[in-house]
Symmetry: D3
Subunit: 209 residues, 6 copies
Amino acid sequence: MAGKATQAKPPTPPPRPAAHGDDTVITALALAPADLTPAIQAYFDKCMEKLGFVPNVLKAYAFDMQKLEAFIAMYNDLMLAPSGLTKLEREMIAVAVSAENRCYYCLTAHGAAVRGLSGDPVLGELMVMNYRAARLDRRQRAMLDFAVKLTTAPHAVEDADRQALRDGGFSDRDIWDIAAVAGFFNMSNRVAAATDMRPNTVYHGQGRG
Amino acid sequence: MAGKATQAKPPTPPPRPAAHGDDTVITALALAPADLTPAIQAYFDKCMEKLGFVPNVLKAYAFDMQKLEAFIAMYNDLMLAPSGLTKLEREMIAVAVSAENRCYYCLTAHGAAVRGLSGDPVLGELMVMNYRAARLDRRQRAMLDFAVKLTTAPHAVEDADRQALRDGGFSDRDIWDIAAVAGFFNMSNRVAAATDMRPNTVYHGQGRG
Amino acid sequence: MAGKATQAKPPTPPPRPAAHGDDTVITALALAPADLTPAIQAYFDKCMEKLGFVPNVLKAYAFDMQKLEAFIAMYNDLMLAPSGLTKLEREMIAVAVSAENRCYYCLTAHGAAVRGLSGDPVLGELMVMNYRAARLDRRQRAMLDFAVKLTTAPHAVEDADRQALRDGGFSDRDIWDIAAVAGFFNMSNRVAAATDMRPNTVYHGQGRG
Amino acid sequence: MAGKATQAKPPTPPPRPAAHGDDTVITALALAPADLTPAIQAYFDKCMEKLGFVPNVLKAYAFDMQKLEAFIAMYNDLMLAPSGLTKLEREMIAVAVSAENRCYYCLTAHGAAVRGLSGDPVLGELMVMNYRAARLDRRQRAMLDFAVKLTTAPHAVEDADRQALRDGGFSDRDIWDIAAVAGFFNMSNRVAAATDMRPNTVYHGQGRG
Amino acid sequence: MAGKATQAKPPTPPPRPAAHGDDTVITALALAPADLTPAIQAYFDKCMEKLGFVPNVLKAYAFDMQKLEAFIAMYNDLMLAPSGLTKLEREMIAVAVSAENRCYYCLTAHGAAVRGLSGDPVLGELMVMNYRAARLDRRQRAMLDFAVKLTTAPHAVEDADRQALRDGGFSDRDIWDIAAVAGFFNMSNRVAAATDMRPNTVYHGQGRG
Amino acid sequence: MAGKATQAKPPTPPPRPAAHGDDTVITALALAPADLTPAIQAYFDKCMEKLGFVPNVLKAYAFDMQKLEAFIAMYNDLMLAPSGLTKLEREMIAVAVSAENRCYYCLTAHGAAVRGLSGDPVLGELMVMNYRAARLDRRQRAMLDFAVKLTTAPHAVEDADRQALRDGGFSDRDIWDIAAVAGFFNMSNRVAAATDMRPNTVYHGQGRG
């Protein structure tokens, strides 16, 4: 498939995702979609049924089923599996990390998730703009301070940082989950930035009410 | 399992990976190992057979089989599946990214991989110390420049950066792979930093000859 | 008045703006409101009539009529007086600058203005999240690049930066206006940060349609 | 007037302030001076009488009387009106902030003011070079630490920073004034940088004795 | 001698260089002066004769004659020996580098040297405040750009940076000298910062003209 | 000699140190070697006898005997003369500082020294990769924290930083030595970066056992 993409490139300019509102071009890379496996087709159908759309990040990975499956497996484990962190807390980490990296895709999609899960539109804005301005309890503030330090200065994270989480009431398993979610969005932010990935337009209006 | 880890913590101080040379404590988190699934057991057996050891990162994830499986699936796809990038090139990205984040675990394990795959011990050192000092061809230099910019300033990556890769001979599929490998190590570097993950001592001596 | 504020402080803790949705405490400083002058009272009345509320920044300055008048005079000249820049462009600069400084107050109030003036809710989000991800014409991109460099590295602005604006179609008078608006928000962002100024809740929902 | 400036530009190269010692070209922008209003003329006359010169920043704004009046009103309120901060302290903030932004105009003009108001030439140098090397009492050190953090990391200013000022003896009204002066010079530094504004040569020799 | 210093410490607090104007305590370290060797005594005598004072940096090193001799030898070779760079240019590098590191000692002493050697008091101020605001010819601008990049981002200096110097008219030997002077002040700035070294008060008034 | 170097340049391209393994071209500057003085010849002979090679940094300086002698005098005093710091500790500082500046030459040569003096290959790697990941006692950690802060933020070093060293057991003389070694490598890192200096290949294999 890499070969095909390469052959297709010279005659046509590289794709440029159009202005927002046009969800047809999702990344700046010319990657022909692969045939969906039955499992992935079922997963996309479930997205349509539950969300009304397939998140563009999934379409972006859909040029290769193996990559898409690995992404979905890791994403769903991190964001949806049982954890000492609530789903809202995991989304708050996602947005606070994405704000450091200024990732348009993830701020849009996961900002909507914070608004939706919390029922608090302003909390989503605060995570995008400056989580330090939010009125958080000690636990959630410690959680985001750790996630953001891990994002901006990973080399400087030491025992005292882990202890601050334990003091905030987190178990060692929770610390893993905070790290894993923060790490995951440091990955996704960069895949999105590298490919100029564009979020589904629908996210912008979600959870505003 | 989160519950168990929490209960185990109060009576004993948090673990501290010992000085190098002692591979018994791998992270600073108290996470009891889960039972290996047959598939994972087989994978660990294969590691022992081919490498002579199980990489510590796998043991670190082994408190939860679902997380370990997701990690292995993504890792193996990125680093071992067919790609326009050679395995050595993918390892070079891994080390150049890890050098920006100053990740002891990844620099050690993947520095060894660069030495081994290239048969050039000095190339591994250069990736760790400063890739700009290496004598790279235009293609590999463009590849690492992109991976490092994506690491340090993801918000500033734009069309010109992707074009520089195309000018260096990369297809759009290759660009995805560069981004995905760079993104993955931005994740792994942070999981390692958050948990004080320690590399297997054996890596240090590999590929020195 | 400073004396009064000081006397009022010891018995009561410093004010803390409540969670969003409560617009009664606007900053973290205990500053008793002064009597409004007739001119300011008329201005506040006009705000109520046209906007339906008095912007909190005006209430924050209302402990001292001289300071409030100076602020309003400068603000209105910069943002509303005739200029080679449209009002929308001036608001775009306001938000792009405030995003660098991560100012919760200004991102909220002026993000709403970008949404309202443009009729494009997503454009407001893009200015908040990462203006580089927006699809801007050459003129507006040059304008924001200049405003952001002036924000993050003012010491490094030189002739070439001014020339880039001229090449983008701006007159020297326009360059002044870009600089003045960018400078003004570098001031306001800091007054807001220093005082923990909170935006009127109503802004969050404006221009979302 | 913007139109005039634009028309004047093509035939002649943009102005470049000459080497120091030549006070005839003040900024790099071609902006024709407007007619002075009587109030501004009187103000300039007072400058000549008291200082022996009109500060170049005023001449730079003199292409538009409304902008100049707004600037003067805010400047005089901040730097000269009654405050819990002495005039020297306000000038010390001006210079410490301008040192972070490396603003040639403001360091020159306000460095002279610190030397003049303090009667201590070295104090002016210390504010320019590194305020941390000065021997300041706790109050003034807290004041400058706040002003400088507000300059370099406004998003990270929180309750503890305000409390450090209260502990240093400042009232909430004083905190406002510190913030407002620091904010103002973050604005002025950028207007000066954007326009390559040059200070009156006379400043360099003032207060050296 | 280290032993003596250690024994002397407990009963008395560590020295703190007094406010400027008091040249008796030069650093914050309690290091008893060693007996001057005849060569060093002669050198100090020459300083008194030619300058009217012994520069404090020499007194700071005078706890150990071997260290002092090595410092003087390197300093005199770099700053005074024949070179393609003029003495003024070497002092300009000294100040531009020291401005990046914000070294109070070196900015004071070498700012005076720039003023003195150039006969241009403002040039000294410009080197301290922001060398980019000075009106330099292409050669000197290239020289300072290289010295400053070498100071702030040494890992990123590459062939293109050396070529810019060659294009500016510098020989390879000149490039060495630029690098060596820039390097030397990166050392001296740090010894001064580590010890809170205070410049002779007399420097402040020199060359003010 | 500067003249000669200049004349030699036009007809031939500037030297480019070859890939590692070729020790014939040591820097990117065309500087003809000077005749060795008898003292330097004896020193080089001693290097050959004790090390089996002459360190490339000495060959790089050998275009000028006066510069080479000054370098050797300062280097040997700092790294080999009696001090409260062990030779290993001085090499640890050298590597931790060089890691901040990402200096290929110094990381290679002094990384080898840490491995050799400590008999601990991993300690050398840790100093190169991230000294915070090493298991250091309080004294050595304080020493490296000071050296690294002095490298990255010299302007912010104050009394509290010196006190942390005293609390870690260091005398004032020791503090000088820490500062002087850290300062020296901030110089050498930059001379090496400016000239693209290449380490002797033999270093890479030293002390690996």
